[in-house]
């Protein structure tokens, strides 16, 4: 079968579009969490969305409904919990992470029958996404783009140095909560395609790769989005050619992209040069 067969199958078209929209959106929120040193937040929200999707299956609702509910509640709770309780966001995320993992396994245990659909949420299935799923991803990616365009300067200031942003009169807490909510929204909507155990790698890996290669926030956003989409499309193509699970191959490709970026990282060379000259 020719490579162009992709244009004849609706499920492949949906997968390619989901890779474009989900890959770019996950990578962009990844830039927020990687730059703010909140990588664990991506993991925490992914597991919350996973627990929510399992809850939905248990009560007979669409998985996206629970994923959104749990993902957004977790994202919304992390900021105030960290701000008011005077401990770091990673600690707050860790507490919520353990709670959500406990709930996920509880819901899984309570689910009657073969649990096939529930287990499918672990690794996702980008090839079974419907046009409706793609439209949801398009809406979320559009909302994220609007958030970035409208509040770019505030987002950049908060992501790069929240204390400075607060000191110059930017509503830093509101912008931070907006970033967390967007992260929750994107992860929850990408979960059915990539899976609860894999979605956070699409958040972290492309952004971490971009972080190795540029000193500019705008370039980092663009590079991360390109890496996210490339990871999804290359993973899809390889899984199509070699009959492999798409979600797993996408994650492996995104990890390979990160490894390549780390090897060719100009920042690391700069650091080595600085150390060498300091020692001389």
């Amino acid at each position: 079968m020719s490579g162009w067969a992709i244009f004849h199958y609706a499920y492949l078209q949906n997968a390619v579009l989901a890779g474009l929209l989900g890959g770019a959106a996950c990578a962009v929120v990844g830039v927020f969490v990687v730059t703010m040193h909140l990588s664990f937040l991506g993991v925490g929200i992914a597991h919350a969305a996973f627990a929510g999707a399992l809850f939905s299956l248990l009560v007979g609702a669409p998985p996206l409904f629970g994923a959104l509910l749990f993902g957004l509640v977790t994202a919304a709770a992390v900021g105030p919990l960290a701000d008011r309780a005077e401990f770091g966001p990673d600690t707050a995320t860790g507490i919520l992470f353990s709670l959500m993992m406990g709930l996920a396994f509880l819901f899984l245990g309570l689910t009657p029958g073969a649990k096939t659909e529930a287990l499918g949420l672990f690794w996702g299935s980008i090839l079974t996404l419907t046009r409706g799923d793609v439209l949801v991803l398009a809406a979320v990616a559009g909302a994220l783009a609007a958030f970035l365009i409208l509040f770019y300067k505030e987002i950049q200031a908060v992501v790069c140095h929240r204390q400075v942003a607060q000191a110059v009169g930017i509503p830093a807490a509101a912008v931070t909560y907006g970033i967390l909510l967007m992260t929750g929204l994107v992860i929850a909507c990408a979960l059915p395609g990539v899976g609860g155990l894999l979605v956070y790698t699409l958040v972290i890996n492309p952004a971490a790769a971009a972080h190795q290669l540029t000193w500019r926030f705008r370039s980092m956003l663009l590079l991360a989005a390109v890496f996210g989409v490339l990871s999804c499309w290359t993973g899809l193509a390889l899984s199509w050619m070699f009959n492999l699970p798409a979600g797993a191959v996408i994650v492996l490709v995104s990890t390979a992209v990160f490894a390549a970026a780390a090897v060719f990282c100009p920042k690391r060379k700069a650091a080595r040069w600085t150390e060498k000259n300091a020692a001389a």
Binding site: T35, H37, E86, L150, F151, K153, E154, Q156, A157, C160, H161, Q163, V164, A165, Q166, A167, V168, G169, I170, P171, H211, T214, W215, R216, F217, S219, M220, K267, A270, A271
Partner: protein
């Protein structure tokens, strides 16, 4: 006499670890440069955070530029008019932000939400970098700067803000002795450039800028003495403040 821009009466601020300010009172007039001097742990940094609305008083009153800075919405509006340099600047060396973008952040509060930088804003940023001697570093990543360059960039950010009050918390603390004199000269130039009142915190008597004609000495969360510079820097006063070991 100029109108007061900072009026603090019997303010108390407590953290979980203890009381940082214990009934502090201080009045600063428009255009006045005041040095806040005292040993570590006496509440100097918290005093600046109180003025900037970053901490809320448990008791007492705080009025800055006619408003209460700890109120959420009022605080945002007031902070746009206050240049603040925090004591510690921990910068991730890989942070994707340049010196120009950092200085420009000083304008963002004034510009407001949903609006972009205009020509006047870009000019103010360029002038601020030029005056603080960091114009040649404009495109450099923030994480590549030395301690002195980092502090001058932060001063440029405060200058770009066109503040009415400047709050500087130990700006020379992480700077090597060679660069300290140049940095203090930049600090001394700020009130004249901006017309702003300045509160300058330090624990070192030798690091007080020459422009601070008035010094407030802090001890145990309060202003212990407040008066002319020469009087406050007298040897017996400093011994009483720092103990026999000296500052």
């Amino acid at each position: 006499m100029s109108a007061p821009v900072v009026e603090i009466r019997d303010a108390v601020v407590a953290y979980r670890s203890g009381v940082a300010l214990d009934g502090v009172s201080l009045t600063v007039n428009a255009g006045e440069a005041v040095g806040i001097l005292g040993p570590n742990g006496t509440g100097k940094s918290t005093l600046l955070m109180l003025v900037n609305g970053l901490v809320r008083p448990q008791a007492g009153s705080v009025r800055v530029l006619g408003g209460e800075p700890f109120r959420v919405m009022r605080g945002y509006r007031l902070r746009r008019r206050i240049g603040y340099l925090a004591q510690t600047q921990r910068i991730d060396p890989r942070l994707p932000v340049t010196v120009r973008e950092t200085v420009a952040a000083g304008r963002y509060g004034r510009i407001g939400l949903l609006r972009r930088m205009g020509r006047a804003d870009r000019r103010a940023v360029a002038e601020a970098m030029d005056r603080m001697g960091v114009a040649h570093l404009a495109g450099r990543p923030l994480g590549h700067l030395s301690g002195g360059e980092l502090q001058r960039t932060a001063l440029a950010r405060a200058l770009a803000q066109e503040p009415e009050i400047l709050l500087l918390d130990e700006p020379t603390a992480s700077v090597d002795p060679g660069a300290r004199g140049a940095l203090l000269a930049h600090v001394d130039a700020l009130p004249a450039l901006t017309g702003a009142a300045m509160l300058y915190v330090t624990h070192e008597t030798g690091a007080v800028p020459g422009g601070c004609a008035r010094l407030a000495l802090m001890r145990a969360g309060r202003v212990w003495r407040d008066g002319p510079r020469a009087e406050m820097l007298a040897a017996d006063t400093l011994r009483a403040l720092y103990g026999e070991e000296g500052p």
